[in-house]
């Protein structure tokens, strides 16, 4: 999994006929290259160090974590922190909640979002522009800002401390993004394909089922993974609306900041367990992010 990122990078490079010589040689010198490489390596180390420190801490026994002179690799290697996190109150419950809520939100957003994306991408109708405006603008609204009324509203409907309530909120959280991305994917399918099929006597539904849906497959995967990451990482709303029995793992992590100090070991181990699915998914789709993000803007 982890190798996906570099591989794509390597592949991209290898496609070129020659390696270095063809890159523009602006102010290039041997000394400059050595300097650049050194800075590059240093940069990679500095960037990665915090991640390393999480891993390092997670595998240390408690007394080795809490000492004035930190050790740079675990002198005693232990899995205790992972056991502690996994068996801690609400961890397993919150893990399950997270999976349920996240998948519910992704499926819901995909279903609703795909329909809307289809309409925006394939039809011109009165109010289309307004809808795009709404979709674009709502993802700019700071969610913390509407936390207060959201809480009051859901509490009136008895949807606080419930998985259903938070799933609905998360659908809305990832919906604008889903609509916007899927719209791009659908638009990328040549309209001529639709038209040819229609001329051949296919119904609109068949066009959708036989042409658009299969061709947007990769897009659906990428979109759902982004949605997953977004819903999985959310903790402010769920921490405010729900009690521990109805939270996710992100909110669970906060429980390690206690009035008897922070439980760093279980917190770091729990962080790894919590972040792992995100990292894996992220590395799978990172290529889509980089290419999808830039393909248009630069050429345009």
């Amino acid at each position: 999994m982890v190798a996906t990122a570099p591989q794509t990078a390597v592949r991209k490079r290898r496609r070129r006929p020659a390696r270095e010589s063809d890159t523009p040689t602006v102010g290039r010198s041997r000394g400059g290259t050595v300097l650049a490489n050194t800075v590059g390596v240093l940069f990679a180390i500095v960037m990665f160090f915090p991640v390393y420190w999480v891993i390092n801490t997670a595998f240390k026994p408690a007394p080795e974590i809490l000492q004035f002179e930190p050790t740079f690799f675990p002198h005693t290697f232990t899995l205790d922190n992972f056991k502690s996190a996994f068996n801690a109150p609400f961890f397993q419950q919150d893990l399950l909640n997270g999976v349920l809520v996240t998948s519910g939100a992704v499926l819901g957003a995909l279903l609703v979002g795909f329909l809307a994306a289809l309409a925006i991408a394939r039809f011109r109708f009165y109010g289309r522009k307004a809808i795009i405006l709404v979709v674009l603008s709502v993802q700019m609204v700071p969610f913390v800002a509407i936390l207060i009324p959201l809480f009051l509203m859901l509490q009136k409907a008895d949807l606080t401390n419930s998985l259903l309530g938070i799933t609905l909120v998360y659908i809305v959280l990832i919906l604008p993004y889903t609509v916007w991305t899927l719209r791009g994917f659908i638009q990328a399918i040549p309209r001529e394909l639709d038209e040819a099929a229609l001329i051949d006597g296919a119904s609109r539904f068949q066009v959708f089922w036989k042409i658009i849906l299969p061709l947007t497959g990769p897009g659906l995967v990428a979109t759902s993974v982004y949605g997953f990451i977004q819903a999985w990482n959310e903790f402010i709303i769920i921490n405010t609306l729900n009690d521990q029995a109805h939270q996710n793992l992100m909110a669970w992590l906060l429980q390690n900041q206690t009035s008897r100090g922070t439980f760093w070991g279980p917190l770091m181990a729990g962080s790894i367990l919590t972040a792992l699915p995100v990292v894996i998914f992220f590395l799978i789709v990172q290529r889509n992010i980089a290419t999808g993000l830039t393909a248009g803007a630069v050429k345009g």
């Binding site: 026994p61 007394p63 008895d158 405010t240 521990q244 922070t262």
Partner: protein, 453 residues
């Protein structure tokens, strides 16, 4: 959920019914009479939950919110109370443990809804705000054991307009924890006066000062329970009521003197982070680089050994560097803050009678004995001597006799959650403001918050 035979609790309660019913009838009568008198002023006040009511709780489950301390410190006490409760009523108990850091926000959101916990534990300083805002149901004080001897610091926050809205659960007092080995080496004894204390800190600093991480007296900058103890020890207070207005009094001479003395400890004798709170002071102290700390009775154990798995208090203990080298003593001249907790029945509880019954069992003498054995202080003065007899508890029980408490203003907890005192202390400890300036600014904020409409 309930795996027991639905008949079992019914049979149990059936067997006891004859006696219980008679008591229940009497109690209901009494409650109606008292209730009728008390309710006159408040038209929509529902019935006072009756702990003595004979309720067949079979198939019911009450939801209880306790703070983590019970989970990590005395799970047995909770269990025996639950067992006795289930035996008496047939109802089950579901206990949810809350973290101090965010439990109030959680409580607010939950109490606003309709699916509420039946019993809630709150810190005694947090209680007035909720009592004042109608979160809890009034209780019949007489139904709770030792209610005549409740510690005032615990029971005063429960009172409003002559009614009782919560029940004292346990108390804690803070004491001096010091390193016996360092004291011996420096030829020092446990301080008898405040001057002794400062002198001891000075000696320790001289002997060990070459280590820049050494604190003669580790004092985190945000530790307001400590700083306010110094204030009260020097004749000061935080705020007082003047007519119908509250006035912050930290600028008055006594309080200033206390703050100045506290700042001497925090700035001169502590090398710790002036912006930290006291949450991890045990971990810092366990490194063996501090001479003294000011802590709760139970922290004596926490600095010496820590559970291998912090999430499982029952896991094996790991000895720290200071194991066997520490002792407690009352801090001379400094009255302890009487911390602690109360339990209350929520106004929206659908099982209020059962909830009151649980609160009754959970705070009765038998439960209190279990708490005393765990090194915390009981809820009643009549039990304090028993507590003093428990080894390691002597200093705390002693300290509990001379205590102070926060101003009994309905909005007091807003002062806490707005960090007014912490911010003042940090600015003093970091040297950003002088004591008079910091105190003046804090007074202004306290006035604003306590008198806000």
């Amino acid at each position: 959920m309930n795996q027991r035979s639905p008949l079992t609790p019914y049979l149990i309660s059936f067997r006891r019914n004859s006696v219980k019913r008679r008591i229940a009838v009497a109690a209901t009568l009494a409650a109606t009479l008292i209730g009728a008198a008390a309710c006159g002023s408040n038209s929509d006040s529902s019935d006072t939950p009756n702990a003595a009511a004979s309720v067949n709780g079979a198939g019911k489950t009450i939801k209880v919110w306790l703070m983590v301390d019970a989970q990590s410190g005395w799970p047995e006490v909770v269990k025996q109370a639950n067992d006795r409760f289930t035996q008496a009523t047939g109802a089950q108990v579901q206990v949810d443990y809350q973290q101090w850091t965010d439990h109030l926000a959680k409580l607010d959101t939950t109490l606003a809804g309709s699916d509420v916990p039946d019993v809630v534990e709150l810190g005694n300083t947090e209680m007035p705000k909720y009592v004042f805002n109608g979160a809890f149901a009034p209780l019949d004080k007489g139904q709770f054991e030792n209610s005549a001897e409740w510690l005032t610091g615990l029971s005063a926050p429960c009172e409003l307009d002559g009614k009782t809205y919560c029940v004292p659960y346990y108390a804690g007092a803070r004491v001096l924890i010091y390193r016996t080995d360092l004291f011996d080496k420096a030829g020092l004894k446990a301080p008898k006066t405040y001057d002794d204390l400062v002198a001891a800190a000075k000696t320790l600093k001289e002997k060990n000062g070459s280590d820049k991480q050494f604190s003669a007296f580790y004092m985190p900058g945000k530790y307001w329970y400590a700083a306010m103890a110094w204030v009260h020890g020097n004749g000061g207070t935080i705020a007082k009521k003047d007519g119908d207005k509250w006035v912050g009094t930290l600028s008055e001479p006594g309080a200033q003197q206390g703050l100045t003395k506290w700042a001497e400890i925090a700035k001169t004798y502590s090398s710790g982070d002036p912006t930290k709170d006291e949450n991890d002071q045990d971990a810092v102290y366990a490194q063996g680089k501090s001479g003294m700390i000011y802590g709760n009775g139970w922290e004596l154990g926490a600095v010496q050994e820590q559970p291998k798995d912090p999430n499982d208090p029952a896991s094996a203990k790991v000895k720290t560097k200071v194991n066997g080298k520490v002792a407690t003593a009352p801090l001379p001249g400094i009255p302890s803050f009487l911390g602690g907790s109360d339990v209350a029945v929520t106004a929206k509880s659908k099982n209020a009678d059962l909830a009151a019954k649980w609160a009754q069992i959970f705070t009765d003498a038998k439960s209190q004995e279990g708490l005393i054995a765990k090194g915390v202080l009981p809820n009643a003065t009549s039990l304090l001597d028993k507590a003093a007899a428990v080894k390691g508890n002597e200093a705390t029980a002693q300290a509990a006799k001379e205590t102070w408490f926060v101003p009994m203003a309905p909005k007091w907890s807003d002062v806490e959650s707005a960090n007014v005192l912490q911010n003042m202390l940090v600015s003093i400890a970091t040297g950003k403001a002088t004591v008079p300036d910091a105190a003046k600014a804090a007074d202004a904020k306290i006035n604003e918050i306590l008198n806000a409409s």
